[in-house]
């Protein structure tokens, strides 16, 4: 039994994976919130509600942005929002970190399992459908049913993947600790 680098990688992954699971759950909740709308026509006609709804969509989308929104000069709100955004980039970077660590630790199998998602993330990051600064999470577009359902599916799949990998890392960690 030895505390190898691989074991360390798995331990760290375990912790970070929990964070990823959190991100995935957060996505799911966010999209669910987007999808749910009040069916009451009165609410819909209410300009206040309209504004709240819009804010909500924007807020969620901003949280999901790839890059921190460039605060518009003269727009104070923009600056405030700047702080708390970016849930996507951390997720992608954490996952990339895994892959690099596994590469260093020469855990090929684990790396192999993660590479597809890594490529997917790269694709998502560099292939932005709407505009250069946002992923698919573009306020005007995100409410289109197919975009929304795509995002939801994506979030669920990631959650499943992260959950499975969480237990896989746990197993691997113990295995490496015990075997070596």
């Amino acid at each position: 039994m030895a505390f190898t680098f691989a074991a360390f990688c798995y331990m760290l992954s375990l912790v970070l994976c929990a964070a990823l699971i959190f991100f995935a759950i957060w996505h799911i909740i966010a999209f669910d919130e987007l999808r749910t709308d009040f069916k009451s026509p009165i609410d819909q006609c209410n300009p206040v509600h309209a504004r709240e709804r819009l804010r909500n969509i924007e807020r969620i989308c901003f949280l999901l942005r790839k890059v921190r929104g460039v605060p518009i000069k003269g727009r104070k709100e923009g600056k405030k929002e700047g702080r708390k955004e970016e849930l996507v980039l951390p997720e992608y970077s954490i996952h990339s970190l895994f892959c690099i660590m596994f590469l260093c630790a020469q855990e090929w199998l684990t790396l192999g399992l993660n590479v597809p998602l890594l490529f997917y993330h790269f694709w998502r990051y560099f292939h932005c459908p709407a505009d250069s600064s946002e992923l698919a999470y573009d306020p005007p577009v995100v409410m289109n049913a197919d975009t929304l359902s795509y995002c939801q599916k994506e979030a669920w799949c990631k959650l499943a993947f992260y959950l499975l990998s969480f237990f896989y890392y746990l197993y691997c960690m113990i295995y490496t600790l015990v075997s070596s």
Binding site: P47, L54, G74, P140
Partner: protein
Amino acid sequence: MSAPAGSPHPAASARIPPKFAGATASGAAAPSGPGPAPHHQNGPAHSQMHVPSGYGLHHPNYIVPSGHFPQGPGKMTSLPLESQHNDYYSGLYTVPTQNVVTPCTANQSGAQQMYGRGPPAPHVVGSTPGSFQGAASSASHLYTSASQPYSSFVNHYNSPAMYSVNSSVASQGFPSTCGHYAMSTISNAVYPSVSYPSLPAGDPYGQMFTSQNAPTVRPVKDNSFPGQNTVISYPSPLPPPLSQQQRQQQQQQQQQQQQQQQQSLSGYNTLSWSAPGLPSTPDSLIRNHTGSLAPTNNNPTNTVADSLSCAVMQNVQPRKSSPVVSTVLSGPSSTRMPSAAKHPTEPVVPVTQPSELLQQKGMQYGEYVNNQASSAPTPLSSTSDDEEEEEEDEEAGVDSSSTTSSASPMPNSYDALEGGSYPDVHSSSASSPAPDPAPEADPAPAPAPAPAPAAPQPSKMAKPFGYGYPILQPGYQNAAAPLNSGVHPSSQGYSGFQQYPQYPGVNQLSSGLGGLSLQSSPQPESLRPINLTQERNVLPVTPVWPPVPNLNLELKKLNCSPDSFRCTLTNIPQTQAILNKAKLPLGLLLHPFRDLTQLPVITSNTIVRCRSCRTYINPFVSFIDQRRWKCNLCYRVNDVPEEFMYNPLTRSYGEPHKRPEVQNSTVEFIASSDYMLRPPQPAVYLFVLDVSHNAVEAGYLTILCQSLLENLDKLPGDSRTRIGFMTFDSTIHFYNLQEGLSQPQMLIVSDIDDVFLPTPDSLLVNLYESKELIKDLLNALPNMFTNTRETHSALGPALQAAFKLMSPTGGRVSVFQTQLPSLGAGLLQSREDPNQRSSTKVVQHLGPATDFYKKLALDCSGQQTAVDLFLLSSQYSDLASLACMSKYSAGCIYYYPSFHHTHNPSQAEKLQKDLKRYLTRKIGFEAVMRIRCTKGLSMHTFHGNFFVRSTDLLSLANINPDAGFAVQLSIEESLTDTSLVCFQTALLYTSSKGERRIRVHTLCLPVVSSLADVYAGVDVQAAICLLANMAVDRSVSSSLSDARDALVNAVVDSLSAYGSTVSNLQHSALIAPGSLKLFPLYVLALLKQKAFRTGTSTRLDDRVYAMCQIKSQPLVHLMKMIHPNLYRIDRLTDEGAIHVNDRVVPQPPLQKLSAEKLTREGAFLMDCGSVFYIWIGKGCDNNFIEDVLGYPNFASIPQKMTHLPELDTLSSERTRSFITWLKDGRPLSAVLHVVKDESPAKTEFFQHLIEDRTEAAFSYYEFLLHVQQQICK
């Protein structure tokens, strides 16, 4: 009353024929039809008439369907046999080859039920001969609509039964004939009027009118009447001629309904929107009549006469001696008809009926009658117009109707109809008489009655007219065919016959629908396999009309107008699997806020809606009993509120099905305070003007200020209307217009990094309180900045300031920009590389460079503010980025490349005209639009200018009448347990008068289970427009070449899918169903459109603007942009001309867009939507050049010519009236360019000849070969 009742029946029967006619007639009935018909009473007569007509029609149709069989209409001359009928059916509806196999699908059952109710069910069964039944069965399998035909059959057979049949049925039938769904009501009205006129020709008509119906007729324009009256002079020996009576009855019914509605109006406020339409409609009707008559007259052959006589007889018999009547009619018609002969407008007709014209004509005639009858029943449409002239007409109609419509349509119908619409229940009420009408009617002489019906529904009329076109085509469906035949002849005859100045309805329709595909509409035609590579003239010579969903007559009549609401597939596939196999896009195209000529407006304390899905009650719900109704979208059973039990139209209790909400698929509710949480906002307009050096140089300010001064009083709004102005260059200027100031005060804010409002109030001021100041400002503005040297433009900060100014109220911001914004937030850099303009590879920068404008638009949207952009620039201005400010705030975008007030006068004039329209058109504020559809369908992507706030809710800060939308649909659950699907859009908005209103459109479509049916119901134009929208998205999100590939693949996939699944013909040829025959042509046109073309030098802004237009233009206008119309205008004649507002508008045939059509001796007009080109050939007749252009010869025509002089010559008048007519009613005013054959400007013209080969693109034939290659791979 009985007589009237009878008449209604006939009408019903008449209707039937159209659809079914073919089938039924084909059955045994055909031969016997004529004979028996006479026996029948009025009602029966109609039916009989139909039958014959059906026959005639069928034949042609039949043949057509056989289309598979190679032929044209001509071959079909032989009469249809029963067997033929069967074939016909099978061919048309089901797979071409097979027989009637499909018994009844769920739909059918429904239809049958409907059936039952209409005509006594028992009758049907017993009476119908075996052959008949066969036909019916086939019909049933075909479509629900089939059921109707069935009923009609029944009628025919059981003449007595027919009698009993309610008028309502007839009315329903009518719609079917019309073919248009939405139009149905209107069309009906129109029809009736038409029919009247025609009848009038017969003396009886005149008598009838005078005595009975006179009141009703009156609505029609005076013109028509007079003519008719004169005609009437013929002594109508038979006052009671059935046809007349029937018509009258129908009219009366309609009128009654209308009257009722009017009466109800007091209760409800029905508004008629477009005044202009009305007059025209009558005319159109008249035409139809005349036309029908004319053909009959023309036909020398006895057969024709017989058929006619029979028809007449039938009609007449019930009441009086039919034969006499018929003869009379023929006589008058013939006498009058000569003119009809003149009208060759519809080439189709001749084609279809080479030898058999006579018979067919006879048939048509009968159909025609039927149509009329049917039309009469349609009362619904009338309800809407309170305000306008139509009221009178309607009222008049009412009286007559009251007498006529004895029988209420049947309760059966209730049950039967899924819709639950009791369309014609009124009959009873009708009998009751419409109080109002009588007086008015009196004034309006007998002739008036017919017109009156028409008047109420101008738009619809037009549609029927359109149908007429289809008629020509042999392949046309049964239902359609009758109509067409009726219409065509009538139209021709009409024009010739009486010169009614007004034809507007028809013309308008045709113009409006011009883009639509007529060809596809004929269903027989729609499935006829066409070998595209061998079909040289794919493009029809008449405008393409939208196909009519295959519903039963009643539903057709009630359905929403295709102008407002269209689906790419008029037969919805049952499952996603079928849809996937068909490889066709499924989606809706909406034009929800279109200017309507008539619209029922309902004021009610409780707006009845489904409790679970919030659907508004509509004509397609079903009433389970008096107290409950079943939602047609979610199938929940709801209670009928107490208030709804009272029908203000009839002032009767316990007839919820007669309420206008249930009688009209397009209605408007005045919303109660439940629908607002803040008081409705006032109309607020803010103008943000670029006054940098560039802008001053371009000189747009003068034009804008002038337009504003002229239209200041016409700005939509009430006493609360507010207006404000801002100008900007490198600083932002506000104008204090507070009442009491001696002159406008200019406030300059130079801190563009942190914009603030210099004063909180008085920047937006009440229009009426500060009118003088505003006028002062507008007079001063153009000269205030003449010496400016400021070249920078701080658009972004100006927009932020505008947003702040508007956020308390919301409203409309109009931004005028002339260059790239160069200062402050949202500044842009030039991204266009001029060397890449004609690149065939990658086109970049179709998306925004910054999301500043998008965010701003979203903020604006949240504050109910829309931003409209006018971009007048001579250089690249990055429209792709700027357009975002309008796209997401539901604004609109205008672009004037190379604008200069003196160097480019045509653009200046265009701006002026556009501004006039822009400033005075209707506007709705703080709007939301929700689109609902039957459970199982779901919407995904939306196209247009808006913000999507929820999966089915579009947030529209403003809505204007020129905005179109598109929605893509998918089928999530199988629709096997339903035969109909419905779509409903509800647009909630605040009118400029501060009223909260809800405009609801409901569209109903049949569900089919076979792939062939899906192909039969393709609406090519809608599909193309949806594809164009999808391609724009693809271009932006992926790349232009991707989008182009996708377009080509759309053709390849759909045609190969058709070839491998439906068509059994050889695979070497490129086979397309008739409904899709224009598909490759349109796609090619799209590929050569500015938005998607490659290889031709296209400026980036032009390209982006074309994309914006594709996204936001309604279908009618978009189609002209995609596929321009080409006419030859050096030989305009009055042949087939239509009359609009006292002008004669010639109707030259459409030419295909190919240089081969351009002869050097000719002059051609190309209508590209926002641009007109007149191409003058070198060898053009000097007379034409002199008479129309005002120059002695070709050489003296100047290079730049944008106006036609008003010369006092016949050809000049014709040309100008034609062009004016084309220009009417489009959102963007069109600029006219006269292009000489040798001028450099001709490349502009030639690039629109999309069937020709260009350096970078295929010719049409090459494209077909390319597609074929792809398919064979």
